[in-house]
């Protein structure tokens, strides 16, 4: 079992998505198109974007959690810990899931199985990937519950999910995800469903655990305040494409894509009040209404006829890139003046 755990290669990113395109069967346009992002050990990549733009689908695809019968993966050039990862290889993905790549979800109230004790649910994750005895797995579960800040873990172990609050359940989910010390954690809006006061605690917890274990983290969030606080890098997603990506300071201080600019316009800089991503007028196109060329063109104030063709990817150094005919920003402002 141990050979399935991948030793992190210090030089390579933990997760390196070089190209990822997929569609749900029955649709004739790709839902995700040419995604590219990577995250290194100890770093945090924040993926931001409006609801429905494909953030969850992308993460689930990487974890192998989309039903193979429902999706068609067009392109998938993905490396995990320096090795190619075949998203069609169910057996390999299963051996990685919960062991070297873990995921926590948006809905702590429904993500735990209501029929089983939380201790057993965590211990099960340990036993699935090692030869640990039930007693050893239980011990790991207690230690992990203590680590995620659950008081009296020996007793809590025997409780059922309904006996815990939402915040506690998310802590249990985190304990379950991290119990095998994964190299990568994908957190899909882990605080969206929680009270504001609890949100900060959960984020702090994830940050502390990351500092301790050095895992790479992908944080999916709506909350630009969270991004400013924890991100090393940011990927801005729009309608299944990454329209802009780069180091967090670049994205906040020098956004290049009109969509990012729209998002940032209400957030002064790296500080200031938290903002939700609702500042750009209009709605995300569905696969049926997806325009040709630039997917943002239907809402872009700078859109020109040329936007009906695929936009080029422009690089601005330090890994900062944007997908737009008119980037960098200066070009755009000149033309619209």
């Amino acid at each position: 079992m141990v050979e399935t755990l991948v030793e992190p290669d210090a030089a390579a990113p933990v997760l390196d998505v070089r190209d990822l395109s997929l569609r749900f069967r029955g649709f004739d346009r790709d839902l995700l198109s040419g995604l590219r992002y990577s995250v290194r050990s100890g770093e945090t990549l924040c993926i931001v974007g409006e609801s429905g733009c494909g953030k969850s689908v992308a993460s689930l695809a990487l974890m192998g959690l989309l039903p193979p019968t429902a999706v068609e993966i067009g392109a998938a050039d993905v490396r995990f810990c320096g090795e190619p990862l075949d998203l069609g290889d169910q057996a390999r993905l299963r051996s990685l899931r919960g062991a070297s790549m873990a995921m926590i979800f948006q809905e702590p109230m429904t993500s735990l199985n209501p029929a089983f004790r939380i201790g057993d649910q965590i211990a099960e994750a340990v036993m699935a990937h090692s030869g640990a005895t039930p007693a050893e797995a239980r011990e790991r579960a207690v230690a992990m519950l203590r680590k995620v800040g659950i008081p009296a873990p020996e007793e809590r172990l025997n409780e059922y999910p309904h006996q815990l609050s939402g915040g506690m359940r998310q802590r249990v989910m985190i304990a379950m995800a991290l119990v095998n010390d994964p190299a990568l954690l994908i957190a899909d809006e882990p605080t969206t469903a929680l009270d504001v006061t609890i949100q900060a605690q959960i984020l702090d917890l994830i940050r502390d655990l990351q500092a301790e274990t050095g895992m790479a983290t992908i944080m999916i969030t709506h909350d630009l305040g969270v991004v400013a606080e924890i991100a090393t890098d940011v990927a801005v997603m729009y309608a299944g494409t990454i329209v802009e990506a780069g180091p967090v300071e670049r994205i906040f201080n020098d956004p290049q894509h009109p969509y990012t600019i729209g998002l940032m316009s209400s957030v002064p800089r790296l500080s200031g009040p938290r903002q939700r991503l609702t500042t750009v007028p209009g709605t995300v196109p569905t696969p049926q209404t997806m325009p040709d060329g630039c997917r943002f063109s239907t809402r872009c104030p700078f859109a020109r006829p040329v936007c009906a063709t695929d936009p080029p990817e422009r690089e601005f150094g330090a890994g900062h890139r944007a997908l737009c005919h008119f980037a960098p920003l200066e070009t755009m402002l000149e033309r619209s003046a």
Partner: protein
């Protein structure tokens, strides 16, 4: 838990009383006079008067009812007008036969219906799912008597593998007893298997899209464990509830199958009693059946609570 069961039993009492009133009055409203039937061709007025007195048929109806209920509570359901045996004894003789038949039918139904339901949910939209649904639909629409006769023709007459009819008490020769009942149990079980399959399928489909099943997969558990442990455990509640209720129906519904395979069970008792206007027996049977239904309902409720940790801790 105990107080929950007691509470449920208390709630059942008015139901049983209501059923007893219904059973008793239906009896009185039915055409045909049992005494005339018993008195035979001559209809001797003295014999008729004697019988009326003996069975208290001259008392006002509420008095007759009170008397009947009073006796019933003490386990005295009266005497069969026909065989002069105590009704309870008759039922006690025939009921175990039918319970054995129903239990075996239930094993068939669950053994076929639940795995088929799980499989067709997991393979939703595939050929497997389609075939399972077509078979289930045929299982529901093939009449029991036809299936029974076909089985007798094939298995007993043509291949001579199993006896076509009869009954061997389980206590006398368990192996032979089970063997003899194999075919009728299968016939009775198939229609239920179809019902169970469809319910299992829909319960599993709901559960398979739940967040906790996704979590189980995210842990890297095998697909088998995800389906049989994490999903099935949560689909179990409606399945167990349904099974308990179906079992009650099985006992009542065994009549036809018992006739086909000439099994001396509850079904035969019902048919004989109704045709002979053996009122006491009919009353007893209806009452016992009703109580049986209520008990199965109670068991279904208890199972429902036991299967749900949240409810379990509240009761």
């Amino acid at each position: 838990m105990l107080s929950f069961i007691l509470r449920r039993i208390l709630i059942a009492i008015p139901t049983i009383l209501l059923i007893s009133v219904f059973v008793f009055s239906l009896q009185k409203l039915l055409p045909g006079d049992p005494v005339l039937a018993m008195a035979g061709e001559e209809r001797d007025p003295e014999v008729i008067a004697f019988l009326r007195e003996k069975y208290r048929l001259n008392d006002p109806i509420p008095v007759q009812y009170a008397h009947w209920v009073g006796n019933a509570v003490r386990g005295d359901l009266g005497m069969s007008l026909r065989t002069n045996q105590p009704v309870l004894e008759l039922i006690g003789e025939k009921l175990p036969v039918t319970i054995q038949l129903a239990t075996m039918a239930m094993i068939f139904a669950m053994g076929i219906g639940i795995p088929a339901g799980i499989l067709s949910a997991v393979r939703k939209g595939t050929v497997t799912d389609y075939v399972a649904n077509v078979v289930a639909l045929s299982g529901l629409s093939i009449p029991n008597f036809w299936l029974g006769i076909m089985l007798i023709l094939l298995v007993s007459v043509k291949w001579q593998l199993l006896p076509a009819s009869g009954y061997v008490p389980f206590a006398d020769d368990p192996w032979r007893s089970v063997q003899v009942m194999l075919m009728p149990a299968f016939v009775l079980g198939t229609a239920l298997a179809a019902t169970l399959m469809r319910h299992t399928r829909s319960a599993m489909l709901t559960v398979l899209t739940s967040d906790y099943v996704r979590t189980a997969r995210a842990k890297g558990l095998s697909e088998r464990r995800v389906i049989l442990k994490h999903a099935f455990r949560n689909a179990l509640t409606p399945i167990v509830t349904l099974s308990a209720l179906l079992f009650g129906e099985l006992i009542a519904g065994a009549v036809l199958t018992e006739q086909i395979f000439t099994i001396p069970g509850f079904g035969k008792l019902v048919v004989d009693a109704v045709f002979n206007r053996d009122y006491a027996v009919v009353q007893g049977i209806v009452l016992v059946t009703a109580v049986g239904f209520i008990v199965m309902n109670l068991l279904a409720d208890v199972a429902y609570v036991l299967l749900n940790p949240r409810l379990r801790s509240q009761t």
